[in-house]
C-alpha cells in the first residue's frame, strides 16, 4: 500500500467513525437528549477515538519497511510530546556513544588498522635478546643482519634500519629532523614504492658511494614547497650536499618514529667482522608466503645453533671467540611488526575501551529506568491498545522504535561529541600513543557507532517492552482506569538496575583510582637530580664539519661558558644522554681484577654518559663517595670515571668502588685503565618506572685523548631562574653566534621532559578518571531518579504514616534507608567486581597493588557520600508530603 492510498484510507476511516458517532448522537437526540450532550455521550461511549483509529490502521498491515516507517513516525510524535525526556535521553546517549566512538577510533587507528603495506601480517620485527644481561629486546649488529639475510630460509627479504637525527637545509635555516639509515632491501621488504623518484640502489649503500637521500612526504611539503623538481637536486644534510632521489608516500614510517629523511645504511660486506658486537640495527623481515611466525620461529632455531660454526667458530658457546647469535646468551627475537609498534599501548587502549563501554552500559541502565517509569505512567494507554486488539508484538515494536529513534539521534549527536573528543585527545596526547596520526572517524568507526546505536536502543528499549507481560496485558479497560498501587516487579527491576549501575561505577572508580595513584607515584619517583629551574636542549654537530673531536668538545665548552655569562643563569653543562628515556647502551666494559662467577653480572654497563666537568654540580647530583670531576682532570691527565650507586653495589659489593679501575669499550690504548674517582647518586636514565641501570660518567674533555672520539650529539643543561622564553632567545643568540648552521632542538624545561615521558600513564589515568566520574554521576542520577519516583509512588503511604504520627525524621530515615541499601549492595557488588577485574590493569600499575586497600576504601567512602547526596533530595521531598493532599490523591 502506497502512502497515498494509506492517506485516502485514513480519510475513509475518519469518515466511517464520524458516521458512527453521528448515528449514535442522532439516536440519542431522538431519545430526548440535547444535541451537545448527545455528541459528548456518543464520544464517551466510543472511547479514545485517536487510539481506536490507530489500532484500526494497524490492521491494514503493510510492508516491513512501511510498518517500520510508521513506527518511527509514531515514536517521533510521542517523543516530541515529551521534549524534556527526549532531550535527557538523547544527551545521555550522545555522551555515552560519543565517548565510545572516540575511544574506538583510537583503538581502530592504533591497534586494528593494518599497517599500510601489502600483506602486513607477514612483516616481522627481528631483534636480539641477551638473557644473561637481562636485555629482552635489543638491536642486532650489522654482521648479524648481513648473515641473517643470507642464511635464513623463512623470510623472502630482510631490511635493516636505525633512526637518528640530522640537520637539513643550508646555513641559514637548518631544521633538525628524525632520520633513518636504511638498507636498500628495506623498501622491497615492506613492499612500498616511492611517491616520486626511486629507492636506493645496492651500490648506493656501499662505502664511498655519492650521498643520496629520500624525503618523507611531510618534509617535502613543509621544507621544500612540495615541488617534484626537488627530485634530482642536492640538499644540505648534516653539512653534506646530498642528492634527493625520491619522495616517500604520505604517512610512511617503519616504526612510528616520525622519520623525515631516509639515508642509505652504508655497509661493506668485506668488513663484516669489524661490525660484530655493535648492536644498533632493527631488522624487518617479510615471511615467505604461507609461513607463519610460529613456523618461522621453529625453522630458525637450527640457524642459531650452527651460526658460529659457519663462521669458523667453536660450537661451544662458552668459547666466545666470535660474537655471533647463539641459543644461550645471544638469541634472536621475532615479533609481529604491528604488535611491536602498538606495544604496551594496546592494553591501555583496551582498558579505556572497556571502561567507556561500562559508562555506556550505565547510561543504558539509566535510560531503561526512565523508559520503565514512563511505561508505568503510560500503562493505561498500553492496556487500552491491547484491549482494542493491538498485538503484544506491535507494542514491543513500538517501544523498540521509540528507543531506537532515541539511540540513533543520540548516536548522531554522539558523532559530534566524538569528533570534538578525538580532537582533544590527539591534541592533549601527542607522545602518549603510537600511530596517533592514523586515528580518525573512518568507515569502521561509523559502523561501530551504528552498531552501538542499534545495540543500545535494543538494550534499553527491551526492558519496558518485556514488562508487557501477559498479566499486565490481560487487565481490562476498566481495571486499567484505576491506578494499581504498586507494580512490585517493575520496582524490583528498577532497583536491580540501580544496583547494577552503582556496581559498574564502583568498578570503574577503583580502576581509575588505581591508575591515578600509579601516576601520582610515578611523578614522585626520585629522578636522582634536582629538576627545578633546569632547562635542556639538544645540539648535533654535523660529522662533515666537525670531524675533529677536540673541536667538538671545544664548541660545547664555548656554548656553556657563554650561557653561564647570561644574567639569571647559574650554570650550564652538557651530557650525551638525556634521562629519563635513554635507550640502553649495554657497552662491554672491563673491570680490573673482576672474574665473573656464576650469579655475578657480566662485564657490561647499561649507560655511558659523556659529561662536562661541572655536570654534577649543575644537575645537583650528590656524590655518595669520593669526588666529582674537577680542575685536576685535564684533557691529558690520568683518565677518571664516576660510577653510579647501582654499578658500585653490583660490581664492588661490600667495598668501596673508589680507586678501582675499569676499561670502557672502544678506547685507543687497551692497556689504559680509568680510575673510579667517585660514586654518584643513581639517576633514572631508563625511565622513572624502570629499575636503575648501571652507569659510568666519562669526562667529555678526556675522550679525544683516550677514546679518540667525542660525541657529536649533546644535551646542554642550563640551571636558570629565567623563564623559558627569555632563556630561549639567549640560547638561540649564543648558538647562532658560535655556528649559525646548528639548529637548537627540543628546548624544554626538565620537568616537561619528564612530563612527556609520563604522557601515556597520565593520558590513561586522566581519561579513566573522567569516565569514572561520568559513570558515578550517571549512577547517582539513576539512584536519585528511582528514589524520587518511588517517593512519588508512595506519597499516599507516606501521607498515611505522617497522619498516624510518623515524624519527619522517621520518614527521612525510611527513604534514605531504601536508597542507601541499594547503594550499599551496589558498592559491595562493585568492589567484588573490581577485585576480580583489576588484575587486568596490573601491568599498567606502578607501585600500587591491584587490590590496594586504600584505593578500595577511598572509592567506597566517596561512592557512599555521593549516593547519600543523591538520596537526600527525594528523602527531604518525602518529608514535605502533606498528609491531607496525599490522602485525597486518586
Amino acid at each position: 500500500m502506497s502512502p497515498k492510498d494509506r492517506g485516502a484510507r485514513s480519510e475513509d476511516l475518519d469518515a466511517e467513525i464520524q458516521s458512527h458517532l453521528d448515528m449514535d448522537a442522532r439516536e440519542r437526540v431522538a431519545r430526548g437528549e440535547s444535541p451537545d450532550d448527545a455528541a459528548a455521550a456518543a464520544r464517551k461511549e466510543f472511547g479514545n477515538v485517536g487510539i481506536v483509529k490507530e489500532v484500526t490502521r494497524d490492521m491494514w498491515g503493510g510492508g516491513g519497511a512501511e510498518q517500520l516507517w510508521r513506527e518511527v513516525r509514531y515514536a517521533v510524535r510521542t517523543l516530541v510530546r515529551s521534549p524534556g525526556f527526549a532531550a535527557i535521553a538523547i544527551l545521555t546517549l550522545a555522551l555515552g556513544i560519543g565517548a565510545n566512538t572516540a575511544i574506538f577510533s583510537v583503538v581502530n587507528g592504533v591497534i586494528l588498522r593494518p599497517l599500510p603495506y601489502p600483506d602486513p601480517g607477514q612483516l616481522v620485527l627481528i631483534t636480539s635478546q641477551f638473557p644473561t644481561l637481562g636485555f629482552d629486546q635489543f638491536p642486532v649488529d650489522a654482521a648479524e643482519f648481513l648473515e641473517f639475510r643470507e642464511r635464513n630460509r623463512s623470510f623472502s627479504n630482510v631490511g635493516a634500519y636505525f633512526s637518528t637525527a640530522v640537520n637539513v637545509g643550508g646555513q641559514s635555516s637548518p631544521a633538525r629532523v628524525t632520520s633513518a639509515l636504511a638498507s636498500a632491501s628495506l623498501f622491497p621488504t615492506l613492499g612500498v614504492t616511492p611517491e616520486a623518484g626511486r629507492w636506493f640502489t645496492d651500490q648506493e649503500t656501499l662505502p664511498n658511494a655519492s650521498p643520496v637521500a629520500l624525503l618523507s612526504d611531510e618534509l617535502w611539503r613543509s621544507n621544500f614547497g612540495g615541488e617534484r623538481s626537488i627530485v634530482g637536486q642536492k640538499v644540505d644534510i648534516d653539512g653534506v650536499q646530498t642528492q634527493v632521489v625520491g619522495i616517500m608516500p604520505k604517512g610512511f614510517d617503519v616504526h612510528d618514529q616520525g622519520v623525515r629523511v631516509w639515508l642509505p645504511l652504508t655497509l661493506d660486506p668485506d668488513s663484516i667482522n669489524s661490525y660484530r658486537g655493535g648492536h644498533y640495527l632493527n631488522l624487518v623481515g617479510r615471511l615467505k608466503p604461507g609461513i607463519s611466525l610460529a613456523t618461522a620461529r621453529v625453522q630458525l632455531e637450527p640457524l642459531l645453533q650452527h651460526w658460529r660454526e659457519i663462521d669458523g667458530g667453536s660450537p661451544d658457546p662458552t668459547q666466545n671467540r666470535v660474537h655471533t647469535p647463539n641459543t644461550k646468551n645471544h638469541r634472536l627475537r621475532y615479533d609481529d611488526l604491528l604488535t611491536d609498534i602498538v606495544g604496551s599501548a594496546g592494553r591501555a587502549l583496551w582498558v579505556l575501551q572497556a571502561a567507556v563501554f561500562l559508562v555506556l552500559l550505565i547510561a543504558c541502565a539509566n535510560l531503561a529506568n526512565l523508559l520503565l517509569m514512563r511505561a508505568e505512567t503510560r500503562h493505561k494507554e498500553l492496556v487500552l491498545r491491547a484491549a482494542l486488539g493491538a498485538g503484544r508484538g506491535r507494542l514491543v515494536r513500538q517501544f523498540l522504535a521509540e528507543s531506537l529513534v532515541l539511540s540513533v539521534a543520540g548516536a548522531a549527536v554522539g558523532l559530534l561529541v566524538a569528533r570534538w573528543g578525538l580532537h582533544a585527545l590527539v591534541l592533549s596526547n601527542n607522545a602518549g600513543i603510537p600511530r596517533a596520526t592514523r586515528v580518525g572517524l573512518d568507515a569502521h568507526v561509523l559502523m561501530y557507532t551504528l552498531a552501538l546505536a542499534l545495540g543500545t536502543g535494543v538494550v534499553f528499549g527491551l526492558a519496558p517492552a518485556l514488562r508487557l507481560n501477559a498479566r499486565s496485558m490481560s487487565l481490562s479497560l476498566r481495571e486499567a482506569g484505576s491506578r494499581t498501587t504498586s507494580h512490585a516487579s517493575a520496582a524490583r527491576v528498577r532497583r536491580a538496575l540501580v544496583v547494577l549501575e552503582m556496581a559498574m561505577a564502583v568498578t570503574l572508580l577503583v580502576g581509575a583510582g588505581l591508575l591515578l595513584r600509579s601516576f601520582e607515584k610515578l611523578t614522585r619517583v626520585d629522578s636522582g637530580f634536582d629538576r627545578s629551574q633546569l632547562f635542556t636542549f639538544n645540539l648535533v654537530l654535523p660529522a662533515a664539519t666537525y670531524a675533529d673531536s677536540v673541536r667538538r668538545v671545544a664548541l660545547f665548552e664555548q656554548i656553556d661558558n657563554q650561557l653561564q655569562q647570561v644574567p639569571g643563569v647559574q650554570s650550564a653543562t652538557a651530557m650525551s644522554g638525556l634521562p629519563p628515556r635513554r635507550p640502553v647502551n649495554a657497552n662491554d666494559t672491563r673491570f680490573e681484577g673482576y672474574v665473573a662467577k656464576p650469579g655475578m653480572p657480566p662485564q657490561n654497563v647499561d649507560y655511558y654518559n659523556y659529561v662536562m666537568p661541572n655536570y654534577f654540580s649543575t644537575m645537583r647530583i650528590p656524590m655518595v663517595e669520593g669526588r666529582s670531576f674537577g680542575p685536576m682532570d685535564g684533557a691529558k691527565s690520568p683518565p677518571v670515571v664516576i660510577v653510579n650507586q647501582t654499578l658500585a653495589r653490583l660490581f664492588y659489593p661490600g667495598q668501596s668502588a673508589v680507586g678501582h679501575r675499569i676499561q670502557p669499550s672502544g678506547i685507543v690504548d687497551t692497556a689504559q685503565w680509568f680510575t673510579i674517582a667517585g660514586v654518584a647518586k643513581d639517576v633514572k636514565q631508563g625511565g622513572v618506572d624502570a629499575k636503575t641501570g648501571t652507569e659510568i660518567y666519562l669526562l667529555d674533555q678526556q675522550t679525544p685523548a683516550y677514546e679518540g672520539f667525542a660525541p657529536r650529539n649533546m644535551n646542554i643543561v642550563v640551571r636558570s631562574t629565567l623563564s623559558r622564553d627569555a632563556l630561549a632567545s639567549s640560547i638561540r643568540r649564543i648558538v647562532a653566534s658560535v655556528d649559525p648552521g646548528l639548529p637548537v632542538v627540543g628546548l624544554r624545561s626538565m620537568d616537561e621532559v619528564f612530563d612527556d615521558a609520563l604522557a601515556r600513564p597520565r593520558f590513561l589515568a586522566e581519561l579513566l578518571v573522567i569516565f569514572a566520574a561520568v559513570a558515578l554521576a550517571l549512577a547517582a542520577v539513576g539512584t536519585y531518579g528511582v528514589l524520587a519516583y518511588s517517593v512519588a509512588e508512595r506519597r499516599r503511604e507516606i501521607g498515611i504514616r505522617m497522619a498516624l504520627g510518623a515524624s519527619e525524621g522517621g520518614v527521612l530515615t525510611l527513604v534514605l534507608r531504601q536508597g542507601m541499601l541499594l547503594a550499599g549492595i551496589g558498592l559491595l557488588v562493585g568492589l567484588a567486581g573490581a577485585l576480580a577485574v583489576t588484575r587486568v590493569v596490573s601491568s599498567l600499575l606502578f607501585g600500587v597493588q591491584p587490590t590496594d586497600p586504600a584505593t578500595f576504601a577511598a572509592v567506597g567512602l566517596f561512592m557512599l557520600a555521593v549516593a547519600l547526596v543523591a538520596c537526600v533530595v527525594p528523602a527531604r521531598r518525602a518529608t514535605r508530603v502533606d498528609p491531607l493532599v496525599a490522602l485525597r490523591l486518586d
Partner: protein
C-alpha cells in the same frame, strides 16, 4: 433513557469470539458498524457487549483477511456510511468457526453435566 443492563449480566467478549459474532451478524444482512453494534445487542438481548472501540479494528482486520468487504452507501438519513457484507470466503470461515465454537460449547456443557467421577 434506556435502562442499562446490570453489569453482572454483561459478558466481555473474548478475542476471536468477536470475529465469529461479526461474521454471523453479517449473514443476516449487510450492515454498517453502528448497525452491527445494535444488532449484536438486540440479538443477544443485551448480554453481549462489544466495546465500540474494538469493533472497528476487528472489522478492518476481517476485511484485510478477505472475509468481509465494504462499500460506501447512503443510509436512510442520506448519510454516507460504510456498509460491510460477507464474502464467500467469509461464509466458509464462519462455518468453520461456528463448528469449532459448537464443539467447544458442547464439550463444556457435557463437562458440567457429567456425574462426579467414582473415587478410586
Amino acid at each position: 433513557m434506556a435502562k442499562r443492563h446490570a453489569p453482572l449480566t454483561r459478558i466481555e467478549l473474548l478475542q476471536g469470539t468477536l470475529d465469529l459474532i461479526i461474521l454471523q451478524s453479517l449473514r443476516w444482512g449487510n450492515r454498517h458498524g453502528y448497525g452491527l453494534l445494535q444488532i449484536i445487542r438486540t440479538m443477544s438481548h443485551g448480554v453481549l457487549q462489544v466495546d465500540t472501540g474494538s469493533l472497528y479494528p476487528a472489522l478492518h482486520r476481517l476485511e484485510k483477511q478477505g472475509w468481509i468487504e465494504a462499500d460506501w452507501e447512503l443510509s436512510e438519513n442520506n448519510q454516507r456510511v460504510r456498509v460491510y457484507r460477507l464474502t464467500p470466503a467469509g461464509r466458509k470461515q464462519l462455518a468453520v468457526e461456528r463448528s469449532k465454537w459448537e464443539q467447544f460449547s458442547t464439550a463444556v456443557a457435557e463437562f458440567f453435566a457429567a456425574p462426579p467421577p467414582e473415587e478410586a
